[in-house]
């Protein structure tokens, strides 16, 4: 190519204290290509992105944009250099309209009315060029996740971005929405935009990128054209060794129904019907996966199962006893005492208290058990011992339970949560998003643990946004859309496409949360 690379880094280094987060990272992203960056959580992807986006400044090394050596001191300087980032968690103001979100911070003038008119004209051009069809005057809160992502991308284009950094863009999308995203990425490429596609899903790398860089422990391990590599090779480069699943699923007849939902209806926090006549059984010795686009009732399902939300109709029973009906309600502590454990789907919001230490978090939910509390007083020694055991059993690092939970990586936080929930050998385990924000090495371990529990005859329900994950660990997959249970598919009969269609509702239209 005659053009200078859109982005080139030479020996970029970044240290945090004693941690070398990025160690001599060199990469070249040619103009008009899609470049994949893969790596485990904690491999240094985010650090690299944040340097490209001007959020961090490298300790040494060069950053060259369009052949020009730059030092980006802030995201706005990166923006001025034509680099934009689409964050994994969207940076949108929900009550604002699409148009307001797009011009936010780039109004260009004091009077919003003129700014909006100018922006509309400019957006029309962009929409035609890139095939967007977004309702500019609708509030963002009414859009589906996929549409919100397109708003983010349009926002970046509106600001004149030539290089788009997409950080884990498919984490929240249905398979169909993913396909639409890939189409958009290809279109952007054909119009001369350069795209950095960051993910840990290797199929996506194979599907959409031209070149790929694998980062492990802060170093570039592989730099190659996508066409010349395989998912297996990439996976190996990512984790350093071939991943093998240690635990095989044993065939075995499933046992008794452990948990039962009959015609369950429940309301969401906003008062609308979030679960509509859901009937479901979870058997001993099986993993029931629950698939669906986020916000289609899975959260409420987890809550009615774990004593966090009362049903408005129907019953939930555990081991034959009704735990949740419009007249009876058993809270989380009693449910734990009856052998139910809960790995919360939103770890930071619900599963842990970030600012408290790992030791303090080790008893969250079990603080009233006689092991940890006597006569209203905490048994600090027993609690510290339990925390040490949890750290040991799940290999939580760094091995210091006195650090606040926020100081641990997502994977290590999840390990702590899992250790806590498995400590009392529960018969029933309700798991939300078992591997969200967890690095691939830990993912395998968590999947193995789930399979082990299943083999040991426990009843498990796993809600996950990652369909591949559910396909790997489940015996049956229940699919939810708009609060309705669209169906339950045995794993032998399940394929991603049909489940994807069920996730989008029987009408075939894409579900909006």
């Amino acid at each position: 190519m005659s053009l200078a690379p859109a982005i080139e880094t030479k020996d970029l280094c970044k240290r945090f204290g004693n941690v070398q987060a990025n160690d001599n990272i060199s990469l070249v992203v040619e103009q008009g290509t899609v470049h994949g960056i893969v790596g485990e959580n904690g491999a240094g992807k985010s650090t690299l992105l944040k340097m490209l986006f001007g959020f961090y400044q490298p300790n040494s090394g060069d950053l060259i944009v369009n052949g020009e050596k730059l030092s980006l001191d802030s995201p706005s300087e990166a923006m001025a250099a034509g680099i934009a980032m689409v964050h994994q968690h969207f940076m949108l103001v929900e009550p604002f309209t699409v148009l307001e979100n797009i011009i936010l911070g780039a109004e260009g003038q004091g009077l919003l009315r003129h700014a909006a008119a100018d922006a509309k004209a400019k957006l029309k051009g962009l929409e035609q060029q890139f095939g967007f069809d977004l309702p500019l005057d609708a509030p963002v809160s009414q859009l589906s996740v996929g549409e919100r992502q397109r708003v983010e991308i349009l926002k970046a284009l509106f600001r004149g971005a030539d290089v788009l950094i997409l950080d884990e863009p498919t984490a929240v999308l249905t398979p169909q929405e993913c396909d639409q995203l890939f189409d958009l990425v290809r279109l952007l490429k054909s119009r001369g935009k350069t795209i950095l596609f960051v993910t840990h899903k290797l199929q996506e790398i194979m599907a959409v990128t031209d070149t790929v860089t694998v980062i492990r422990a802060g170093k570039v391990i592989v730099r190659t054209a996508t066409a010349e590599t395989t998912p297996d090779a990439l996976a190996e480069a990512m984790v350093g060794a071939k991943i093998s699943r240690a635990v095989e699923r044993r065939d075995g007849s499933k046992g008794m129904p452990r948990m039962k939902l009959e015609s369950v209806c429940a309301q969401s926090d906003h008062g609308h019907e979030a679960l509509k006549n859901v009937s479901l059984e979870i058997y001993d010795g099986e993993v029931l996966g629950v698939a669906g686009v986020a916000g289609n009732g899975q959260t409420e399902l987890l809550e009615v199962l774990t004593g966090l939300r009362q049903v408005t109709n129907g019953t939930v029973s555990l081991s034959g006893n009704v735990t949740n009906s419009p007249n009876t309600f058993t809270g989380p502590i009693e449910l734990r005492d009856s052998g139910l454990a809960h790995v919360a789907e939103d770890r930071l919001k619900t599963g842990v208290v970030e600012t408290m230490t790992a030791t303090e978090n080790a008893i969250l939910g079990y603080q009233r058990s006689a092991d940890f509390c006597r006569n209203g007083l905490l048994r600090l020694k027993a609690i510290a011992a339990a925390a040490a055991r949890y750290f040991e059993s799940q290999d939580v690092r760094p091995r210091n339970p006195e650090l606040p939970v926020a100081a641990f990586s997502g994977g290590n936080q999840q390990k702590l949560v899992i250790a806590r929930e498995l400590a009392r050998d529960p018969q029933t385990l309700i798991v939300g998003q078992p591997t969200r924000g967890v690095d691939i090495g830990a993912v395998t371990k968590i999947h193995d643990q789930i399979t082990e529990l299943r083999n040991a005859g426990k009843a498990l329900l796993v809600v996950s946004a990652d369909l591949d994950e559910l396909m790997t660990i489940s015996d049956r997959i229940a699919v939810m859309c708009c609060g309705v249970l669209e169906g339950v598919v045995a794993i032998e009969d399940a394929d991603e496409r049909s489940i994807g269609l069920m996730m989008a509702g029987s009408s075939g239209e894409l579900a909006t949360p």
Binding site: K14, F16, G17, N18, Y56, Q57, T306, G307, L308, G331, P332, I333, E334, R336, H342, A344, D346, K349, T350, G351, V352, V353, E354, T355, M356, E360, I363, L364, G365, Q367, R368, C373, G376, L377, L378, L380, A407
Partner: protein
């Protein structure tokens, strides 16, 4: 920006940082004094002399600190449960009322018994006054900041009414009650010391200072050693995680705020049972609000609150002396200085964090290299 370590050693964080912030506040105060044409160092000397220079001054310093310990603890207990109790002032007034009613109800009796009854009355009324906003917050979602502020006005008006009405000293003209019955009162320090044969100048410092220290110890124990304290902190930091853990957030809110109200209510012990020996109108004099600053300066830790309370005792007592000795520095200016300390040490605790952290990072880095 990224060279700054996220966490500093505890010693730096909890001792050096507040100290530096106070220095900055004193520096700015010094500029103000200097602007008035006075010598700031001389003024500082007067302030310290006024707070610690002689026995009576020390007594007054700790006498004021006692108030701040109670109100600071009150704010911090509510804060640990995730709520801003702005109603310390009103709860203290009601605590004073409760204490007064309790000692009158008991009549002439043994001093020790009256102290217990007075403590119970103060705590009960303070807690009761906090209960209504707490209940409204927990069950109806009415914002506690608004309701507690409103309850301060109601408390003030109630006290004013009672002290010119049913509770007024018969035949009296002032908004104050009759004197407490004999035996209802806390011994003052100079009396206690005299009992042991030590002579100490007379000051209003009384046994409620020890009660305040006990309260601080109790709050520390509650927060770090009890299950309820644990559940309260979980609820205060993350209501969703609290629900996950089976903690009833509304229940915790109500109990924590009642504890908070009880602590604020006990402030009356110092002012009324330790010094005035009658109920007087507006005896709280804004101490309930200063408690907010004390709690923040003390990083919501009981020990920090005791230290911050003593600092404010110094500012109150030393400031009064300074205003007396140096006429250009008026009482209002003392309030300005107090405001500056609150601003720098309470409201802007992270002002100097970055440079200190950078400096520390450099030294720590050098140590590692």
């Amino acid at each position: 920006m990224s060279a700054v370590p996220a966490k500093l050693p505890t010693v730096l964080e909890s001792l050096l940082m507040p100290f530096l912030n106070i220095l900055v506040a004193l520096f700015v105060s010094g500029l103000v004094v200097w602007g008035l044409g006075e010598d700031p160092f001389f003024a500082l000397g007067l302030l310290i002399e006024g707070a610690f220079g002689y026995e009576e001054a020390i007594g007054y310093t700790f006498y004021y600190a006692t108030n701040f310990i109670f109100t600071g603890l009150a704010v911090s207990v509510a804060f640990h449960a995730g709520h801003f109790n702005i109603g310390g002032e009103g709860q203290a007034m009601l605590g004073g009322l409760g204490l007064t009613l309790a000692v009158f109800w008991l009549g002439d009796t043994a001093p020790l018994l009256s102290v217990f009854v007075a403590v119970a009355g103060a705590a009960l009324f303070g807690a009761g006054w906090a209960f209504v906003p707490a209940w409204l917050q927990a069950r109806r979602g009415s914002h506690i900041v608004i309701t507690t502020i409103m309850f301060n006005f109601i408390a003030s008006a109630l006290l004013a009414y009672l002290l010119v009405g049913p509770l007024q000293r018969p035949g009296g003209q002032m908004p104050e009650s009759s004197d407490f019955p004999d035996g209802a009162g806390l011994m003052q320090f100079h009396e206690v010391l005299a009992y042991f044969g030590v002579s100490f100048e007379q000051s209003p410092l009384n046994l409620s200072f020890l009660i305040a220290l006990l309260a601080a110890l109790a709050v520390w124990f509650l927060l770090s050693r009890t299950r309820f304290g644990y559940e309260m902190r979980v609820a205060g930091k993350n209501a969703s995680a609290a629900a996950f853990a089976g903690v009833s957030v509304p229940r915790v809110t109500i109990i924590a705020l009642m504890m908070s109200g009880a602590l604020a209510g006990m402030m009356g012990l110092n002012e009324l049972l330790g010094e005035q020996l009658r109920l007087i109108g507006n005896f709280t004099l804004g101490y309930g609000f200063v408690g907010i600053a004390v709690a923040f300066m003390g990083r919501n830790h009981p020990l920090g609150i005791v230290l911050a309370a003593i600092l404010f005792g110094v500012l109150y007592q030393g400031g009064a002396e300074l205003a007396f000795e140096m006429p250009t520095v008026t009482r209002d200016l003392i309030v300005v200085i107090q405001g500056l300390v609150i601003l720098f040490a309470g409201a802007m605790p992270h002002l100097l964090r970055r440079p200190v952290a950078a400096l520390y990072g450099r030294f720590a880095g050098r140590g590692a290299a």
